[in-house]
Amino acid sequence: MFEKTIKRSPAGVALDTTGAHPAGLAIRELDGWYDDSHVLHAVSLSVLPGEVVTLVGRNGAGKTTTLRAIIGLLRKKRGSIRFGSADIGDLGPRDIARLGIAYVPEERGIYARLNVLENLRLPPVLRQGGMTEAQIFALFPNLQERLSSMGTQLSGGEQQMLAIARVLRTGSRFILLDEPTEGLAPVIVQKIRDTLMHLRSLGYTLLLVEQNLQFAASITDRYCVLETGRVVDTFDNLNAHHAHAQLRRYLSV
């Protein structure tokens, strides 16, 4: 599952033999269950700091489950998940968030009982280096116009932007995004791509789940293909045609 050559982070820092960087993610032989249903099988995956990795696979392949396992929402697991030097497998979501992992769920999770500004300010600032509100509004100007609207009065695209915006305040540099472009118009998808590219240029690490392969191809460094709860392949996106052929093989695109 891992490249055999010496891997370097985008900043050029050499990595240790397990492929983990002090602030990257390393999942080893992860098994996961929902009650008695065995949903993840020996999943191994690493994400280097500054990298953009996309989990792809058919519906039910275990992509969302993997993200939930990382953020601590999947309780029944076996195997190791390390973030930097910390073993986060037994931690709850709160502790994992405090270590610097942010989560943008598939359903976006915008609160109906909070207005836009409250939604934005809800996640507490956990470390230095997060964006200021001014910076966030510069990135998402249309949110600034809707501050007093209740969360769910926003359109799907606005909610998605809000869901991304609010975690940028926290200072967390490792963001999990579950299908950020699902159901959105091309114009909004473009906006989200620009946002994610911007984050990448700032050194953020992104682990995405995406069904929109065109979108994924435009931003990801690497793919990780999941099938029925197992990692079947990982490959990089340096050669777009080659990558596309690989994807077609697995997903009959």
Binding site: G72, G92, P93, R94, P105, L114, E118
Partner: protein, 295 residues
């Protein structure tokens, strides 16, 4: 005119005032119940007992240490609220995943509180006099309004409004609303939902205890003063629903007034009128008057 449907205006106004007072208590208690249920998924059966303990602490403070009513308004909620914090952390949090268990455990707590108080203080009521500053009243012509009752209405409604504002308009309230709506996601942001739950329960208990202190000079302090009250409050939250805080307050006030009116015009039905209204609401609008409920 001095009569309405054969009832003198003074009697009507007097009962209406009592109705508003009862309504204010229903409002405070159903507010506390609704907030706790929303966040902790627990029906706090002990809420009535905690109201009783507030009154009891006020009585004890006065009789043992001569501490005045005004200090009791601050100290009793703090004391009973502190007990609430401990109860939530070590007991209630353990059963919060099933609302029925929560109801059973808090029922047990209510029995324990009632039993202990009855054992120690007896079943008869303990008297608590109206504080000096609020004795007497004002003659409005058609009704004599005792200062103390006016104070109780003003204080409880103010408290309801303050609680509502705190929850709906402050960042802390935003945390509470978010945790109530989707606590798992709130945890993913780093919010300590468990601590929030503990503090919220303590605050709701303090709220009930405050109402108890308000009640002490009006009703004698006895072990079961909260028991029958909590059952009526249950009917109030069934009618108003627990999804809407303003709904809980409006329902509480409205039903208190309805009770007062019934007491004026048809006294035999006054202690069951709220249950009758509940039956009617269940027949016509099962989801409760203000909707937003889950089940």
């Amino acid at each position: 005119m001095s009569e309405l449907f054969g009832v003198p205006m003074t009697a009507l106004a007097g009962q209406l005032m009592l109705g508003i007072i009862n309504g204010a208590f229903y409002a405070i208690l159903s507010l506390g119940l609704a907030v706790v249920f929303g966040l902790l998924n627990v029906i706090n059966f002990a809420h009535g007992a905690q109201y009783m303990l507030g009154a009891l602490v006020a009585w004890a403070l006065l009789n043992s240490w001569g501490i005045s009513y005004w200090w009791s308004l601050l100290l009793a909620p703090m004391a009973v609220g502190a007990i609430g914090l401990v109860l939530e952390k070590f007991l209630i949090a353990r059963v919060a995943y099933d609302h029925r268990y929560g109801m059973l455990v808090t029922y047990g707590l209510a029995l324990i509180a009632q039993g202990l108080v009855r054992d120690h203080f007896g079943a008869a009521g303990l008297p608590y006099s109206v504080p000096e500053a609020l004795r007497g009243g004002v003659d409005l012509g058609f009704v004599f309004a005792p200062y103390y009752r006016v104070w109780v209405v003003a204080a409880s409604l103010t408290l309801c409004v303050l609680t509502y504002l705190c929850i709906e308009k402050t960042p802390l309230g935003a945390n509470l609303r978010a945790a109530t709506e989707n606590g798992a996601l709130a945890e993913c942001f780093g919010i300590n939902v468990k601590l929030l739950s503990t503090l919220t329960y303590g605050a709701a208990v303090a709220l009930a205890a405050f109402a108890g202190v308000l009640a002490a000079p009006m009703y004698s302090v006895n072990p079961v003063m909260g028991a029958d009250l909590i059952i009526v409050v249950f009917a109030v939250v069934v009618i108003g629903g627990m999804g809407s805080l303003s709904g809980a307050v409006v329902a509480g006030l409205g039903l208190g007034i309805a009770e007062g009116l019934t007491k004026t015009f048809y006294p035999p039905a006054s202690n069951i009128v709220i249950f009758i209204i509940m039956a009617v609401v269940l027949t016509l609008r099962p989801a409760g008057l203000f909707g937003r409920d889950k089940g």
